[in-house]
């Protein structure tokens, strides 16, 4: 049994390293994308073996559901931009050195391989050496698990990870939500969205798949959110699943996307951070400290924050996939 587990881990490790290497070394971008999807799958298995099912769940939702679709669509957008430039048509707007096309030009330039090889090798060796030294001298410690276990009764939930994320270290989660929001603001500041390139897919398979899958995905998302209070799950995972369902809908009819009205969309996207901040300030005023809860109120407040965060994360992921401010407001 143990020998088999070790063998499984070794094969998994070899697979992860091999896939990562081929993914980075691939000159064919489509192949790199498919290898990255495979990498996500193997990584989820690795998280399972590291006994972190919460992260495996997040990796499954994001790696399987969102990154693959995002990278494929981005690749197609790149191709359409390249084709437009190659055909010699005047491209509007004219390329400016700081604009989004600077990155494209950088991709085009041949890499100065000979001059960068030695510095890159030195850098990799130094960083690798430092990492090995840091891991070598790791102090023997039991970690924070006993501390968390001792305080589970005041956390309001039954799952230690959720207790840490939304009670003991709520500050970290709050800032993570803020980062997701800032990422979207960054994407929106680049301008209004281009249409997602999509070819017709005639036949009953795509609409039928969506009709069956989207409701199941919504139910699964709500289930994972609910499970977060006593088992692996929670707002980020549920948000990623609901976001993937939204991306499916976007992919199904990109040309007639019913654009969400700006006001409610912005409200939904900022709901998680705003509610978290309000609860935190209330805790500060009531004497529990910033982001602290009264013991009796911990469970309902955590659920409230998680529901709002799930909504915000799902909306943000779909908005990031569509990329660009909603059409119709150029304020």
């Amino acid at each position: 049994m143990n020998g088999l587990l070790v063998l499984f881990d070794l094969v998994l490790l070899a697979g992860i390293v091999g896939v990562a290497w081929r993914c980075l070394a691939s000159t064919d971008l489509f192949r790199a994308v498919v290898l990255f999807i495979t990498f996500g799958l193997l990584l989820a298995l690795a998280w399972v073996r590291l006994e972190a099912p919460d992260i495996a769940l997040a990796e499954a939702a994001i790696g399987a559901g969102i990154t693959g679709a995002l990278l494929l669509v981005t690749l197609e957008r790149l191709r359409s931009i390249m084709a437009e430039r190659r055909s010699g048509r005047p491209h509007s707007p004219p390329p400016d050195p700081t604009g989004p096309h600077a990155l494209l030009r950088a991709l085009h330039d041949p890499l100065p391989e000979h001059r960068t090889f030695l510095p890159a090798l030195t850098f990799a060796l130094v960083v690798g050496g430092l990492l090995v030294t840091a891991l070598w001298h790791q102090p023997q410690s039991v970690g924070l698990e006993p501390v968390v276990d001792a305080h589970m009764d005041v956390s309001g939930v039954d799952h230690p990870i959720t207790a840490v994320l939304l009670n003991f270290r709520a500050y970290d989660t709050f800032l993570e939500l803020a980062i997701v929001l800032i990422a979207l603001l960054g994407a929106w500041s680049l301008g209004r969205h281009d249409l997602i390139p999509a070819r017709p897919a005639p036949g009953p398979i795509l609409p039928g798949t969506l009709r069956l899958l989207v409701p199941v995905a919504v139910v699964t998302g709500v289930y994972v959110l609910w499970a977060g209070s006593h088992a692996p799950g929670g707002a980020f995972q549920a948000g990623a699943i609901l976001g993937a369902a939204g991306i499916l809908l976007v992919l199904a009819r990109p040309r007639q996307l019913p654009m969400a009205p700006g006001g409610p969309l912005r409200l939904g996207i900022s709901a998680g951070v705003a509610l978290f901040l309000l609860v935190g300030l209330y805790g500060l005023a009531a004497g529990h400290g910033f982001l602290g809860y009264a013991e009796a109120w911990a469970y309902p407040l955590i659920i409230l924050i998680e529901v709002a965060a799930t909504l915000s994360i799902a909306l943000t992921l779909v908005a990031l996939f569509v990329a660009g401010r909603p059409a119709g407001d150029d304020a």
């Binding site: 049994m1 587990l5 063998l7 499984f8 094969v11 998994l12 091999g18 896939v19 081929r22 489509f30 192949r31 498919v34 290898l35 999807i37 495979t38 799958l41 989820a44 298995l45 399972v48 099912p53 495996a56 769940l57 499954a60 939702a61 399987a64 559901g65 969102i66 693959g68 679709a69 494929l72 669509v73 197609e76 359409s80 281009d194 249409l195 997602i196 390139p197 999509a198 070819r199 017709p200 897919a201 005639p202 795509l206 609409p207 798949t209 899958l213 995905a217 699964t220 994972v224 499970a227 692996p232 995972q237 699943i241 993937a244 199904a252 009819r253 040309r255 007639q256 996307l257 654009m259």
Partner: protein, 108 residues
């Protein structure tokens, strides 16, 4: 019994690594994508086997999410690499309000 489950999971992991040949060699993008989709199915089975072998029921949820969402990449692929676009389809620098074209599969 858990030894059997683990051995089966190990075998399936081996098939994923073998299947990587198809991803690396292609030749078509369809071959590569289909291989990745089959990895997804294999991954679901590995997760279920591990959940039985390690007695961790939470892994069933991970398998459920994988089974559910592996289709998203497939739908994206079909939309990008499916039939060629009709010549008048707008693809770039257009906004929905200025777009009147309808797609044949969307009028349900």
């Amino acid at each position: 019994m858990s030894v059997f489950y683990l051995a089966a999971a190990l075998f399936l992991l081996g098939t994923i690594l073998l299947g990587l040949i198809r991803v690396l060699r292609g030749p078509g993008s369809g071959d590569r994508m289909l291989a990745a989709q089959l990895f997804g199915t294999t991954g679901v089975t590995i997760l279920l086997l591990l959940s039985l072998a390690l007695e961790e029921s939470a892994l069933v949820d991970v398998a459920l999410v994988f089974a559910l969402l592996a289709v998203v990449a497939a739908v994206a692929f079909v939309r990008q690499h499916g039939l060629p676009e009709p010549p008048d389809t707008p693809t770039h620098r257009q906004h929905p309000e200025s777009t009147e074209s309808r797609e044949p599969n969307d009028d349900r």
